[in-house]
């Protein structure tokens, strides 16, 4: 055990703990719309962080991440509305199916690298949308699946209120966050960074690069599936727009805006973009302009995303 090595992680954990206490403590006094958006922010944060494992850590810029998010969302929607599945069962099934889908896709997409990887995952995203749209008996086609009730949570009961659902999501977010942290500090997490920095070197060091990437895709897919499941509960419905290219792009943008390869950055990015879209649109119909400006400004002046800015300011 190396004490020196734990210093930075401990600082990070302390910072995150403070942030979580604020997120938890502030909710009851905030307007309900803010809490609603925070719930959405948390769900997207789980998804964006899972994409960061690929994009930021392993250097796999996937434009098809919404496919796995959607597998989770549709799984939950179908199990809950047609088979009255419990919260736990729906979550578990969503995670497992998203991971399986991810493994299947991994075989196809991992043949490509760099910009070709981006393009082939883009193709995955387009095909997944087509499937969600056309496989009507399963997905409900363009209207999707509606009427997903809020979950019944162990020890809590029906999390139907804005606050109780928020805390449910927050609790799962904390679990995910803990797992993410363990993952990025773990030997496996380090191998992902190694692959990002130099695949050829990793190979001659004895690493099966394909396998590590595939495992990363599966793990990220599983987390995306979990986020998708919560998203289904959050909206009460799932439709093809959960799978479309714009949604995939949104995940990527959250990671880039926040700061790729930092884990914390995408969390910030997820919150920032969610609030920018849904809060600014309350005040001006030109919110798309505001979002556009935010993207351009971030790209030009915040090379390491918002987290990079925060660090620089310190």
């Amino acid at each position: 055990m190396d004490v020196a090595a734990t210093r930075a992680p401990m600082r990070l954990v302390t910072g995150l703990a403070v942030a979580l206490v604020i997120l938890a403590g502030l909710a009851p006094v905030l307007p309900s719309y803010v809490v609603i958006l925070m719930t959405e922010g948390l769900i997207y944060a789980i998804a964006a962080a899972s994409l960061d494992l690929l994009l930021g850590f392993a250097g796999l810029a996937s434009l098809g991440h919404s496919a796995f998010f959607a597998v989770g969302a549709y799984t939950t929607a179908i199990l809950v509305t047609r088979h009255q599945a419990s919260f736990g069962a729906a979550l578990a099934a969503s995670i497992v199916l998203a991971a399986v889908a991810s493994a299947a896709i991994a075989i196809l997409v991992l043949r490509a690298t760099g910009i070709y990887f981006m393009m082939i995952t883009l193709a995955v995203s387009l095909c997944a949308w087509g499937l969600a749209y056309r496989w009507v008996s399963l997905t409900g086609g363009d209207t999707g699946i509606v009427g997903i009730p809020r979950p019944r949570v162990p020890w809590v009961g029906l999390a139907s209120g804005t606050l109780s659902f928020y805390y449910t999501v927050l609790a799962l977010f904390v679990v995910c966050l803990a797992l993410y942290l363990l993952l990025i500090w773990s030997p496996f997490g380090k191998t992902l960074v190694g692959i990002r920095d130099s695949e050829s070197r990793m190979r001659v060091l004895g690493y099966n690069v394909f396998l590590h990437k595939a495992v990363a895709l599966v793990v990220a897919g599983a987390f995306a599936g979990l986020a998708g499941s919560l998203y289904a509960y959050y909206n009460g419905f799932v439709g093809p727009s959960a799978v479309d290219l714009a949604h995939s792009m949104q995940f990527v943008l959250m990671v880039i805006v926040g700061g790729p390869g930092t884990l914390v950055g995408p969390l910030i990015g997820a919150f920032a973009i969610t609030f920018l879209e849904k809060m600014v649109s309350v005040f001006t119909e030109r919110w798309v302009m505001v979002l556009a400006a935010a993207y351009v400004v971030t790209a030009l002046w915040a090379p390491r995303g918002m987290l990079g800015l925060l660090r620089a300011a310190r």
Binding site: Y33, I36, D142, G144, Y231, F275, S281, F283, L309
Partner: protein, 413 residues
């Protein structure tokens, strides 16, 4: 940089917190939430919805039964998820007493349960999917727009009886509206003795209709066209270029030649027949007055369908509020009254609501003509007081599954 971002976010949050804290008058205003797309592909549609709705409110100075009306507009955005979030905001944060609007069927389906759970009346002013007021009808929901099925029924009847068609080829968009118009058409048309001999489902985003038009069966007496929006320009243009429009009549679901498309359609659409509960050329005093007023707002020659029906929706809602004396806080009474409210005359004609929450209104058969320099949808036939169940028994009707790609099946293809 960072400070600015933080400040901006703080300001946003503060604004949301502080706005409802404004001093309350003796009689607090009636709050109406309105969800319509203001960005994305349907932005213009949403803008027209709001123009129509607000035109009526401004005519009555935003006062109904002595109470001020506060309209809170929210952007439906491009996805149903957006609409749900905004509906939650309107319910929980703004505490609206009534919610209106909604363009996309998927958004309406998604929002309906949320609104239902909160017990807030929802008046859908555009979204047309049948089941919102049929198999998935809910207590607090009313719709004053239209459904695909009801329009299909009318078209089927008109095609068989008036146009004398016996064999029809259908080209329709592959989503709810296309399925339901086609389904309704096929049911009535085939029960009368006609045959649908071809159904072509086109993806919602279709850049080239060439292959579809070229594969239309030549033995069809006429074509049913259920393609809307900008794609309609392409399809009708293609039908014209391929010579189909010179040989056969095309009967199209109304929004295919919506007034907002007429300029872009130009001469290509001349002679196309459509069916819809309104036309800018509808020759009634109420409509003429409305068209004149809305033109002052939009500064355009052409007035879109969505503006007109939303104006009517606002009229109808206001009438209901008047009838309860402004007491919208009594939700049960308000909603019962809402459903019982009738308007004898609006720009599109009389409005009343059936017991499933859907509007009963006139449906007009229109033809695209050129009058002077301008195009118009000339009304050539009126189907008065059409029910969403046509002439069928509602209970029997609802036992059947909703119209879809394969229901009714294409027996003569």
């Amino acid at each position: 940089m960072k400070k600015h971002l933080v400040l901006a976010l703080v300001a946003l949050v503060a604004a949301v917190v502080l706005v409802p804290a404004a001093p309350a008058a003796e009689k607090p205003p009636i709050k109406i939430g309105f969800i319509a797309p203001k960005t994305g592909n349907f932005a213009q549609f949403g803008l027209d919805m709001l123009n129509g709705f607000k035109l009526y409110l401004s005519e009555i100075d935003y006062m109904i039964a002595g109470r001020k009306v506060e309209l809170i507009e929210e952007d439906e955005g491009a996805t149903p998820a957006n609409a749900v979030t905004k509906a939650r905001k309107l319910i929980e944060h703004d505490k609206v007493q009534l919610m209106g609007g909604l363009l996309m069927a998927a958004a309406a389906y998604a929002v309906a349960p949320v609104v239902q759970e909160a017990g807030v009346p929802l008046v859908i002013t555009v979204a047309a999917s049948d089941d919102l007021t049929q198999r998935k009808a809910s207590k607090y929901l009313a719709r004053v727009s239209l459904t695909g099925g009801e329009h299909g029924h009318v078209a089927g009847d008109y095609a068989y009886r008036k146009l004398g068609w016996r064999k029809v080829a259908v080209i329709a968009m592959d989503y709810g509206w296309g399925h339901e118009v086609t389904g309704g058409f096929q049911r009535v048309f085939e029960e009368l003795g006609g045959q649908v001999i071809q159904k072509i489902w086109t993806p919602v985003i279709t850049t080239d209709f060439g292959p579809y038009v070229a594969s239309l069966k030549p033995e069809a007496d006429g074509i049913l066209d259920v393609v809307t929006g900008a794609a309609s320009i392409r399809l009708i243009g293609e039908l014209r270029k391929a010579g189909v429009l010179d040989k056969k009549k095309v009967l199209a679901a109304g929004t295919a030649t919506d007034e907002t498309l007429l300029t872009a359609l130009g001469d290509t659409a001349l002679g196309v027949l459509t069916f819809l509960p309104w036309s800018q050329a509808l020759d009634t005093p109420e409509n003429k007055r409305f068209v004149e007023r809305i033109k002052q707002v939009t500064k355009k020659d052409y007035v879109g369908f969505s503006g007109a029906i939303n104006y009517g929706a606002a009229m109808w809602i206001a009438e209901a509020i008047r009838q309860v004396g402004g007491d919208v806080e009594n939700k049960e009474k308000f909603f019962q009254t809402l459903r019982a409210t009738e308007i004898k005359s609006s720009p599109r004609g009389p409005i009343k609501i059936d017991k499933y929450g859907h509007i009963i209104q006139n449906i007009y058969i229109r033809r695209v003509d050129k009058v002077g320099n301008l195009y118009q949808n000339t009304v050539i036939e009126t189907y008065p007081s059409v029910s969403q169940f046509w002439k069928y028994n509602p209970e029997e009707y609802l036992k059947q599954p909703i119209y879809s790609r394969d229901n009714p099946p294409c027996r003569h293809c």
